[in-house]
Symmetry: C2
Amino acid sequence: MHLHDRFAEFLSASEIIEATPALLNDQRRRFVSSPDIVLQPNSIESVQKIMRFCFENRIRVTPQGGNTGLCGATVTTEGVLLNLSKFNRIRDINLADNSMTVEAGVILQNAQKAAAEAGRLFPLSLASEGSCQIGGNIACNAGGLNVLRYGTMRDLVIGLEIVLPNGELISHLHPLHKNTTGYDLRHLFIGSEGTLGIITAATLKLFANPLDKATAWVGIPDIESAVRLLTETQAHFAERLCSFELISRFAAELSSEFSNLPLPTHSEWHILLELTDSLPNDSLNGQLAEFLYEKGFTDSVLAQSKQERIHMWALRENISASQRKLGTSIKHDIAIPIGCVADFVRRCAKDLEQNFKGIQIVCFGHLGDGSLHYNTFLPDILSNEAYRYEDDINGTVYRNILACNGTVAAEHGIGIIKKQWLDKVRTPAEIALMKSIKQHLDPYNIMNPGKLLP
Amino acid sequence: MHLHDRFAEFLSASEIIEATPALLNDQRRRFVSSPDIVLQPNSIESVQKIMRFCFENRIRVTPQGGNTGLCGATVTTEGVLLNLSKFNRIRDINLADNSMTVEAGVILQNAQKAAAEAGRLFPLSLASEGSCQIGGNIACNAGGLNVLRYGTMRDLVIGLEIVLPNGELISHLHPLHKNTTGYDLRHLFIGSEGTLGIITAATLKLFANPLDKATAWVGIPDIESAVRLLTETQAHFAERLCSFELISRFAAELSSEFSNLPLPTHSEWHILLELTDSLPNDSLNGQLAEFLYEKGFTDSVLAQSKQERIHMWALRENISASQRKLGTSIKHDIAIPIGCVADFVRRCAKDLEQNFKGIQIVCFGHLGDGSLHYNTFLPDILSNEAYRYEDDINGTVYRNILACNGTVAAEHGIGIIKKQWLDKVRTPAEIALMKSIKQHLDPYNIMNPGKLLP
């Protein structure tokens, strides 16, 4: 009997779906999946049945959300591609506990909207929010633009509902803010990239809506100045500092041309920073202007209208799109102690330019979290030919990262493309423990095999 | 050769210490330890040597910090009592990353002071802060008074340094705020109550100092009103709400008499709430007064001076001491969804009074986190005789907790006294995974055996 017929015995017709390019091609068109079957279950019971069947028959299962990952964690060449898009309900919004229970397939933007309609904020915000899904955000411990104030996805998850590889259900969708009953298993699943089970729903933290904002674009000569601005802004405005984005001159000019928007300042480096206040605060703009002037950051422009704020953010958000004209990039999603960023950026650029003549570097990111997107482009190399140089370029970049105690994966995960680097940031004892946990939960290695662990 | 002599071969004389009552008696004088030897190592190398030796020789090791735990997690009747008090250095304060690296034996209050001297806040605050140690706070995932704004200890730990049962060192004392490189093992150790390894140091988050405070004592007729006050205060003041403590009339009156301080209000229930602002905000008191008046909470007193604030907090903090005159209490450290607290308190009191004639209930705690201290006293029962009724009383209390999806251990841990309740809040699959993790790291079960896991 064909696999299709076996699944049809216990799934409805609508749960076995056509394999479309949108499901099979990864975000960067680098990998193409070729699963034996694509399933889109519409109930917990169906997920449990699928997992029980696959567990018994040793069939590999690759879970998939919005398919926006950048590290190939949902690429598969066999077994079941398990798409969670039908798990798209907001199950509950609880104002007393400031929490919201949503299913894994809810699109991030829809979760944000549901919170807003209830008069609350769900703060996770990132470039792909219009299509990425909550389950994937949890599986990769997504970060984005508001981590400085609200933390990464890990910090926003209170409870999880998970189907284990053997089909068993673990459900802790309570809104308890304090709970210390044995080893914290929730955090094992967060960031596990689909290798330990299927996340089907989560209880998430909600926050008060910010009522006032102040946004500034600051031109600075070097990263040392950016770090000084960050430290002083945090010491003064504390949690009101919500975003602190670093943009190199090259990245800013690319985006300005692409967006057809003028740059607010002309300098070697740019900072886009935003304060938010959860109480009405008319004077926030004035306070920020005064602060920047007093601290000597005089090459600053404050957004004086919603339109100006939108323009500033468009310049930041369009960097990714604007760099495409440079060809295929070798991307790095890195984090380093903030005090080391300046040194890293200088050393790494020097090393890369020495080893790869004419290399172009688009450097930008969430300096407030010490996290950078560090994308490199080789001249005159067409499309995916660039990947031939990936290992060499990574070697140079990651050597510099490791020298300053940083990490090779800040907010995109490991997937398949960074597996060989895991043992540079984790000790053998840690990797052995990870493998032991994986082996216990997934003895037949059916759950997203080949991802994350070397 | 005696154990003493074996350790003397590789430890200095000052690292093998006398067993004093302060080390052997637990906080509540309920348990007395009788280890074979008490060690107080003064370096990582010594901890590694001790663990290697104990691993090879299958000697049990019980780690101990400030010995302020309430669940018996550091009680032992054999092997090594490993006291971490000599690990008392603040290793580093990093203002760019807003972090601080401290050793496990640093007393919480000293960590708070070191942060304050650097112009920052380390927000963990709890009754035993003058003697409890950071290592113990991490091992138990301590909570306390500021969880509402800053989270529990779990939320405050960025990096850990751990010696594993076999003596291996895992060190991640970096200040990275984003790092997604495989399963999150840090969170396994946080809250593991010394059963997986020895925490020797941690990198902790720092925050801006609050510059203004507003403190109010509010009298309310019932818990429903308290929940309404909480929800509206959070919706309005958001993260500025730092503490929200519930106190029953009985608890308040006990503390008032003990403290020789008048109660600010006379009502069935009391709320002590505090707002903090990280920017100067002269009008915070006025805003809070206006808010309480507008929302109809007219039985309110605002602290008009530092002295008045200290009095209000003394009334809250003296509850534990003031209840001692009632005899030995059967204590419960519970958390429930906030929307269910009113129902729980009513039902549970009714059940207890029905089953235990004349029982007295001292109910207070961190309502803002859904967490309550729920202490019960039987009349005419002297001292530890009360423990004869512990299982029965727990049965009644926990049945009510579980009926509303709550937890039997909010912020004190499981230790030995709650082990038999673990399988009521965790599924068999979860407990099996916990045991598998324990077995992998500690195959000879030498690391704080008999604690936490059933």
